[in-house]
Symmetry: C2
Subunit: 290 residues, 2 copies
Amino acid sequence: MANAFNGKVPDALGEGRQLLLERPHASACRSAIRRQRHFSPAGGARHMNSFGEPLRLLGWITGADAEQLDQLARERVADFAPREDIVSEGDPPQFMHAVLRGWLCHYKALPNGRRQITGFSLPGDICDERVFLIRQMDHSIAAVTNATVGLIDRHRLQDLMGRRPRLQQAMARQSYLRLSMQREWLVSVGQRGAIERLAHLLCELHLRLEAVGQAEPDSCEMPLTQSEIAEATGLSTVHVNRTLQELRAANLIVLRDRTLQIPDLRALREAAMFDPSYLRCGDKDVPGNG
Amino acid sequence: MANAFNGKVPDALGEGRQLLLERPHASACRSAIRRQRHFSPAGGARHMNSFGEPLRLLGWITGADAEQLDQLARERVADFAPREDIVSEGDPPQFMHAVLRGWLCHYKALPNGRRQITGFSLPGDICDERVFLIRQMDHSIAAVTNATVGLIDRHRLQDLMGRRPRLQQAMARQSYLRLSMQREWLVSVGQRGAIERLAHLLCELHLRLEAVGQAEPDSCEMPLTQSEIAEATGLSTVHVNRTLQELRAANLIVLRDRTLQIPDLRALREAAMFDPSYLRCGDKDVPGNG
DNA sequence: CGGGCAGTTGAATCCAATCAAAGCCTGTGG
DNA sequence: CCACAGGCTTTGATTGGATTCAACTGCCCG
């Protein structure tokens, strides 16, 4: 129970694996809400539930540190529907967010109406490990699937971190990892062609999911919409569609029913020019990278 | 002398302003060196000199913290020629680098020969505030102009930071700022057209230079090559050329002799969809943003 | 004077965006 | 149970922005 695993994959909660997709994009009660200010005001968490994935952060910390953070993350949780904003650009951040279930995306909207997804947060990820440094969010975070998020009070967190330097270092690690991913995305969008770009995104997501025990070596969930993939890669929706078909035709991926299968991981990674070292955070090995 | 200014612009070393360009791109002794492993091995700093810009970091710290860091940064310095690698991808980082003079660029090279510049480091910037977290550089840092860099031993730094929590927080700030810029670049490359992209880059550089007292309200140095601009924006060199001409034609910029003049800052920023808040690091005001 | 590099220009090509419309699947409501 | 709506996917036709290839200028420097 105590999440005292150390670096390697926590395959423990394997049960949680299929949870992601129970109701993918059920356009649900609230219809196509964009940039909604929702966000449970002090105690207004909508559902409480206790399942969820262990925080990846915990791979970097152990013992009392880990338990405290884990407990803090599960103390107050909220559920979000697809497309719902968890925090919006300009909001004063109250909580740090830990993904317990589902996928989130980070995005920035432009005055011309377009938006760029700048990253995804998967189960076990901390979204905004630097909240206590800022007064206003400089980007938005939204749910991609149905998601459960742990809300960690920024002051209590700051407090805890003051008392636990290892926790602080773990946050720094998470922060570094995010920067590293951001950089790689920029390289992708700036220098890679459409096929490579898509392949690269899929490789990254697969590897990250595998790292938290949510993927098989040759497959994983893929709840993303083609238009979300487009917003993440800087392509148009139709071109994403056509490019995916190319990848299918080349037998590099099998993608249906929101499930991604990878017949030949090595081939896909080669096509993507995917070098997993940017996910290694400097000195940790990432599982599943040959 | 003690760099105890607080947030606002240090216009003190105004003398340093023109230094940037004395020998811009003097292809110098060492010719077109790419990804060179150079890097002074323990004590091999080539030139010692004592001038340079105050570290921007110091805007977030004061007193003894500031002095210590500043001293540490100037204790051992090295000069680099344009295009020379300061650290290369894969290198085990020994030092943290502080820019004292000149411009650096961060880049990642791809197997297909292309490369993406992921950011610039200007005088006063810390390049790699997270060195002590990693065993291998996940990207390279090179000099763009002639540059003087302070080399800060990672262990001594880590030591110092352990004893000075405010310093640690300042590093976290720098780290956050870099992430924020990285994100904005991704938005740029992913969603903005060529004109906006270039305009945006110019706006960012101008504002950042102004923040360290190296720019006038309507002009700044621009030592970047068109091909470097291309690598930073994900465009081709020729297209950068043509796009710059468009900007000139629209009277948004005047760019010659490695100097950028901005006749109408408001207009340029509008054309770029430039919102300076991403450089504000959450709660600090950035000077010169109207 | 020649070499190298940055900048410029033109022509041809291509990758990707845009416009438009149809097919599909799912949930909803009569 | 069927009709309908809405969101996602797919396809075709067209446009356009950006790349590529190539050549030429001007400049600094040896």
